[in-house]
Symmetry: C2
Subunit: 470 residues, 2 copies
């Protein structure tokens, strides 16, 4: 394999985010990592780095000739007790761009080469420190921005998912061997594999695969955020509502300097679950009739959403209840599968006794009405709870395995397809040799998930999405 020949050399990369900061970490990994680091590092203690024990930290200077490049901490990890499973040295230096470059350049001069994206993790995989789905979870973990996506990635990284797959694969592999053994004794018509046990296993595998495949819908939504469309006329209080929802959640973020807020933009984190709010603002500017709601673009955006919030002002609703009812019916008819929430805003502008009148409006089936005041905050908590209730977070809380990766989902679908074929084989008393082919195919797809079966193209695709330095 191409990737295996690559791991002869020693790689170097900046492991911390680019830019100036208090400190930066530069990571060397490979058989020459300690030798390269020793050649450029003068410990204050006077002791050579290559004489130091694993998992120890040393203060010293990086020098190029007589010129001091920086005062750094060098941490040494000896093979196999490191992230990559190779010898690793990490330099923790002053975080100037100039120094980062100088140290990396010096490592290159001493014989290292720049690491490719994800190459440290790739080496960890090749050296058996983690399986492929765990390696993929590392990238997910770094990208995680909500409690849910973080928990899913941590769970996967710690092997929850792949250990289940691996166990099933092993059991299936045992049967495959036994069944293939029967082929060698074909003329004697012996059966090494207990057909009852085999049927039990296939049933169990089918159940597990179906459960995992089903979990993908939840997993995908938890990982990427639940798409919510807010529909409503511009002056209906959409921004105020978004701000009201945002306030609390962002407050936690705000006392940590440098947290980029732009990235969450219209993404809200409610109770650890990410909700992606889809902007439909301004679309109804031209609508002077109820028909205006039918504007094509709004419906397109709503198509992407899993939940639709239909926002309307309380006074407007009370003015023309029939019109409002027609409006909401239209939305429901167009999108019968979507969760529809009618949010009646600005209840601070009506009398308390009118609220029951608001609630009294006739709603389509499975539609919820929530009266709120985005301005005063009344009802906003109820709205949040309602949104959270739509998410099937049961699985997450029960620590069930959830599939979040579409590559795994594909492999699971293919594995199920083969298992169904194996089941048909059992049902139809298919000959062992034909059944063995189907079992091998299923095993192949199981192996794809954990990386027991792999190829360069697949690895290339997976690790190309990593950042450099990981």
């Amino acid at each position: 394999m191409y990737f295996c020949t690559m791991i002869q050399d020693t790689i170097v990369a900046l492991a911390t985010p680019a830019g100036a900061g208090a400190i930066a970490v530069i990571r060397l990994s490979g058989s020459d990592a300690i030798a390269i680091a020793t050649a450029m590092f003068n410990a204050v203690s006077g002791k050579k780095l290559n004489h130091q024990a694993t998992h120890t930290v040393h203060l010293g200077h990086i020098k190029e000739g007589t010129r001091v490049v920086d005062e750094v901490l060098a941490t040494i990890f000896k093979n196999p007790k490191s992230y990559t499973g190779e010898d690793v040295v990490e330099f923790s230096c002053h975080g100037s761009n100039y120094i980062q470059q100088e140290i990396i350049q010096l490592c290159l001069k001493k014989g290292a080469r720049m690491a490719n994206p994800g190459e440290f993790t790739l080496r960890a995989f090749i050296n058996g420190k983690m399986d492929l789905s765990q390696a993929e979870a590392v990238a997910d973990l770094i990208a995680s921005d909500s409690q849910a996506s973080h928990q899913l990635a941590i769970q996967q990284m710690r092997g929850g998912f792949s250990s289940e797959i691996k166990k099933l694969r092993e059991e299936l592999l045992n049967f495959a061997s036994l069944i293939e053994l029967e082929l060698d004794f074909a003329e004697e018509d012996v059966a090494f594999a207990n057909r009852d046990e085999f049927q039990k296993l296939i049933t169990r595998i089918t159940q597990v695969l179906k459960r995992l495949i089903d979990s993908f819908a939840t997993g995908n939504v938890l990982k990427n955020g639940i798409p919510v469309a807010i529909v409503g006329e511009p002056n209906v209080g959409k921004s105020t509502l978004l701000n009201a929802l945002l306030n609390e959640e962002r407050a936690i973020v705000s006392d940590i300097a440098g947290t980029t807020r732009d990235t969450i933009e219209d993404e809200l984190n409610i109770g650890g679950i990410a909700f992606r709010f889809i902007d439909t603002a301004g679309i109804r500017d031209t609508s002077d009739t109820i028909e205006g709601l039918g504007i094509k673009k709004t419906f397109e955006k709503m198509e992407q959403a899993q939940v639709v919030l239909f926002l309307i002002a309380a006074t407007q609703l009370l003015q023309d209840k029939t019109a409002t009812q027609i409006e909401i019916e239209k939305i429901k008819n167009k999108h019968p599968q979507k969760t529809l929430v009618m949010v009646v805003n600005k209840i601070d502008q009506i009398q308390t006794k009118q609220i029951s009148e608001v609630k009294n409006i006739h709603l389509p089936q499975k539609t919820v009405l929530i009266p709120i005041s985005a301005k005063t905050g009344e009802g906003v908590e109820t709205l949040k709870t309602t949104l959270l209730d739509f998410v099937n977070t049961g699985a997450l809380r029960n620590n069930d395995t959830i599939v979040t990766n579409s590559r795994h989902y594909d492999a699971l679908l293919k594995a199920l397809e083969e298992i169904v074929r194996v089941q048909e084989g059992i049902d139809n008393n298919l000959s062992s040799d034909l059944m063995a082919i189907d079992i091998r195919q299923a095993l192949y797809h199981f192996g794809e998930i954990t990386g027991q079966v792999t190829n360069d193209e697949l690895l290339g695709n997976i690790f190309a999405n990593f950042c450099i330095g990981k």
Copy 2:
């Protein structure tokens, strides 16, 4: 002192640049650092963090209750062998924003508080790990973006400058004590201080102070870059010249991912020295006469420059040599102190024999003419060498102490003022009691540099400019 009472508690901050990356480092410092870290960290080895030796690294999980927040490396540094001189724990975690926040929040819950900008370095200063000028050099080092500014910061951080000041201060302090002792025995008219030795010391101090004060002009320029104005009509090839100068130097930067290029913009690094090119493009758009060069704004910009490059096309020069001569004379007359370089561009558009004609133009005194072709690159190296020659880099190469900090410069000026007064005292046989006052004043200003004399306002100003986490 206010700052001294602050260091009772344990501080936490992100030490690596904000944003997502392969890894992030979160730093805890203070008397509870190890206890806080122990409470939230489960080592894979099962051993408690507070039972581990200093300068060791441990793999484990950060947990909040039963929930795993991340798999991290925890590095332990025990007081006084740490950056701050206090107990320090560094968590190296997966570099997602979410995880960074979760870990910091957890530290806060366990009793740490968010660190102020530069507070780790402030503590290092208060705990005697470095003096004030060394602490200031840490910030300079992080901001350094050229070899020169980097070398100056490293030199200062390693104490080259302050050890010189401290030595002089100590010697002066000895004499101050002896002279003050004389006051106690005033009636007996004894002289404990050898006046010859004292005169020698004052002479030496005067020389050192003058040298250091003189070095500031160089130091400031090396630290901040040498301002160079390029003057010339828009079509004269200014951008092409900048690109030609840039190409090589930026190439080194370009193979390291994530290095922000925007920050250097019009700053060029030639031979390790930063040159800041001041844009005067477009200013001469309206000039259809030579008088047009007199436009106020161009001259204003030139005022900031130390070097002025007057760029002209070779063909244009040959067309009207007299006009060109008048033009360059005007610039020289307006700015007699500035280094003026006449860069004759586009020599690829004239015949080789015409180059001597170009060179033949009459130039004002101390003005250099360099024929180049920014397009082909001819002469660009000569231009670079010429620019470098203008910089007095001798001091930098000789490892002489160079002052780069305007606070130090001010203190040195004030110290010199007092030393001059002491000298006058010696010359005029001033009484010991009056002389002692001047010496104490000089000592005060020396102490300001190294931080032996300080106050909260000063410390506040210095450390407010640091980043959080340093």
